[in-house]
Amino acid sequence: MHRSSRLAIFHYWVAFATFLPAVLLGAWQMLMRSPLPAPLDDTAAYYASVTLHGTAMAYVVTTFFIMGFGYAVTATSLGRPIRGMAAAWIGFAVCLVGTVMAVVPILAGRASVLYTFYPPLLGSGWFYGGAFLLIGGSMVWVALMILNMAAWKRDNPGVPVPLPMFAITATAILWAWAAAGVLLELVCILLPRAFGWSDLIDAALGRTLFSVTLHAIVYFWLMPAYIAYYTLVPRAAGGRLYSDTMGRLTFIMFLVFSLPVGLHHLFMDPEHGSGFKFLQSALTFGVVLPTLLTVFSISASLEIAGRVRGGRGLLGWIPALPWEEPMVLAVGLSLVMLGLGGFGGLINMSFAMNSMIHNTSWVTAHFHLIFGGAVVIMYFAIAYEMWPRITGKPLHSRRLARAQLWLWFWGMLITTIPWHITGLMGQPRRVAAFDYSDPLMARMGPLVIISVIGGLLLLLSAILLIIILARSHFGPVERSEPFGYAIAVNPPVRVPAALNGFGLWTAIVSVLMILAYGYPIGQFFFLKQHSVPAITSLPESGRRP
């Protein structure tokens, strides 16, 4: 078990070491966009910074954290060492090399193309190569998750796969599908142009391929939080999981409903017809099912825990919960942010309403609230839960950990609520500087300043996180109870084959993907040429007005 722990902890360290500077960049970007003076007041630096912040948070932090989490879950939930340790370390090394390869050109200002790449913008080939290695390297992890689950099923015929392993394999399959879009875009469109093998760039096809990734990747990030909801939270709260079957259904539905829906990121793009946009917009709403199922199951699980602890009456179980546990506190804060962000998301995914807020700071606010808030706060809780168990060193201070979670929660709300409002006022996202003397912009000034305060709280919280993890890591070794998962009220004895594997669901996803994306991608091969010259140089850098 020790070797699996080392593997997980190395992944965690890369994730959190990247996390802190990325938060710092985010705070500086907010200062740049605000009426306040910012150090290094340069718009070119801003776009490089947006690229670095996005790449670090969207690809590096998440991929490394989830890979580490996956290895830890595999070893602990199956109760045996991971098969394919050598391959796992090779995958880790490839991802690490890819990260360095991608980060250096961004720092050099040679790849300010944002993490969504935005062809026909074109950056350095090293950046795309690095992104390819990072994302491609994580496919080793995908294969290992699937192989470990398959091997365990072979060795334990008729026994239900433990829910955490089932869920992390769903995550891996989801990521394989999602990554296919961006990997194809990199190999077929961006890398050939970046290395000068072709003159033109098919921007429309590139954007369509990326849209395959763009929504599913969000669920890839979200899955560890949901796995924690189902398998860690009930135990931390001192209760049991309400239903194992609901958990399996949730992860299956996430797999199905997160993939044939990416065109809702291209509502304003002219290269697709309205029919496919509506179809995928409507399918996006399917994600309401697993989300509501989860809110119900987790509330029920927490109610069980609260009543076991002596809570009485209709809502008396809520104060009875052990809120001093970082995991329980985190799930409470996470669900609040998930609720607020989720309602905002309904507007983004609606074919018609999206046009009000398309490419405004509303969108930035939405995904920061959902991912940066609801999901990342669960990453913190997972780290606080797992770190002591896999290092054998207890958490440095639970009080400090709770303070860190609260700081993150308030920081994220104070940051994103003003963003939602300025987005409705029409403030575009991903713009370095605004002329706040313009009457139209002037009324947004105070809101933007408030959001900067939120950003500083987030930075403070991120520093606190690293302090807590570092002091725990270098603290004394103490005996602690072994890591374990929540037990269901009715532990599964026999589950239907469909809820114990992914064959049926992979087949359904394949058919849905062909129906939803077959024509939108296929049209580029028989309709008129969509390629355009690439834009290799960005506007001159300059100071803000």
Partner: protein, 280 residues
């Protein structure tokens, strides 16, 4: 996983639920997206099913933007300052022009120096201006009863010839000196409103200085020199531009500028340019 024996077997209840739900959702959304919503247009009749389907997949027979009936396009003049036009103007024959000019003398005076304020002095006017105005009269881009009739019987070569003739007649409009830099006393410090407009314009109203095109400092192609013109004529033309009665300025610049001028300013400008005559 691949080991799952029931994965595509429709006897299995989970297979039926999975495939059935997905097929149901897909068919409902497909029908709504491709055959219901696609038929609705914001301000038009419902489209047919086939048209709606084509629109839903992003194909349309007519990919032009929707258009409303547009009034016929109106151009202010037929003349553009192409090398061909300029070569034709330059080819004017003064001697033949003098014969053509006999027709003009009745109103525009002997040698093009008009003694009646209603008619402009032509002597000293640059040939491009005369050529363009004659063409505008011929094509009814500029309306003035008698001139439209006269211009309609002149050939293009006649126009160039008569333009060359009047351009070289002395005693009319003062030539543009092209001094460039305003002399002392003509700059922004001018307090007399008319003179201030001539040399500084009024940036707040987006009025450029008159002198930038009409002299005395500089001359732009197509803009007549004004020093020595009848003040009443200048004032009348400014009023015609302001009211849209005269519309043959190529880039609408005179209509825009004149629209911004007050009657007092028009009068002051006319007097400034007209007064130059009395100095001679």
């Amino acid at each position: 996983m691949a080991s799952d024996p029931n994965r595509l077997n429709l006897d299995n209840v989970w297979s039926r639920i999975g495939w059935g739900t997905m097929a149901g959702l897909f068919i409902v959304f497909f029908l709504i997206g491709f055959f219901v919503l696609g038929r609705v247009q914001q301000n038009g009749p419902l489209l047919g099913s086939w048209a709606a389907f084509c629109r839903a997949v992003g194909l349309t027979a007519n990919s032009e933007p929707a258009s409303e009936p547009q009034p016929p396009r109106r151009t202010p003049t037929r003349i553009a300052w192409t090398p061909q036009i300029l070569a034709r103007v330059a080819s004017g024959n003064e001697k033949h022009g003098a014969i053509v000019a006999l027709t003009c003398a009745g109103c525009h005076g002997q040698h093009g120096v008009s003694s009646i304020a209603l008619f402009p002095t032509l002597a000293g006017m640059n040939p491009e201006v005369i050529y363009k105005q004659l063409d505008d009269f011929r094509s009814n881009k500029r309306l003035w009863g008698g001139m439209n009739a006269i211009a309609s019987v002149l050939s293009e070569q006649d126009s160039a010839d008569v333009a060359a003739h009047f351009a070289h007649q002395p005693g009319g409009l003062l030539p543009v000196a092209g001094e460039g830099v305003p002399e002392s006393g003509r700059s922004l410090r001018q307090h007399e409103p008319g003179v201030h407009l001539v040399f500084a314009g009024d940036p707040a109203r987006e009025i450029p200085p008159c002198a930038a095109c009409h002299g005395p400092d500089a001359q732009k192609l197509g803009a007549p020199p004004l020093r020595g013109q009848h003040p009443e004529y200048i004032e009348g033309q400014l009023a015609a531009f302001a009211q849209g009665m005269r519309q043959n300025d190529i880039n609408e610049q005179m209509r825009v500028i004149a629209h911004e001028l007050t009657p007092d300013e028009m009068h002051a400008l006319a007097l400034y340019y007209g007064k130059a005559v009395s100095h001679d």
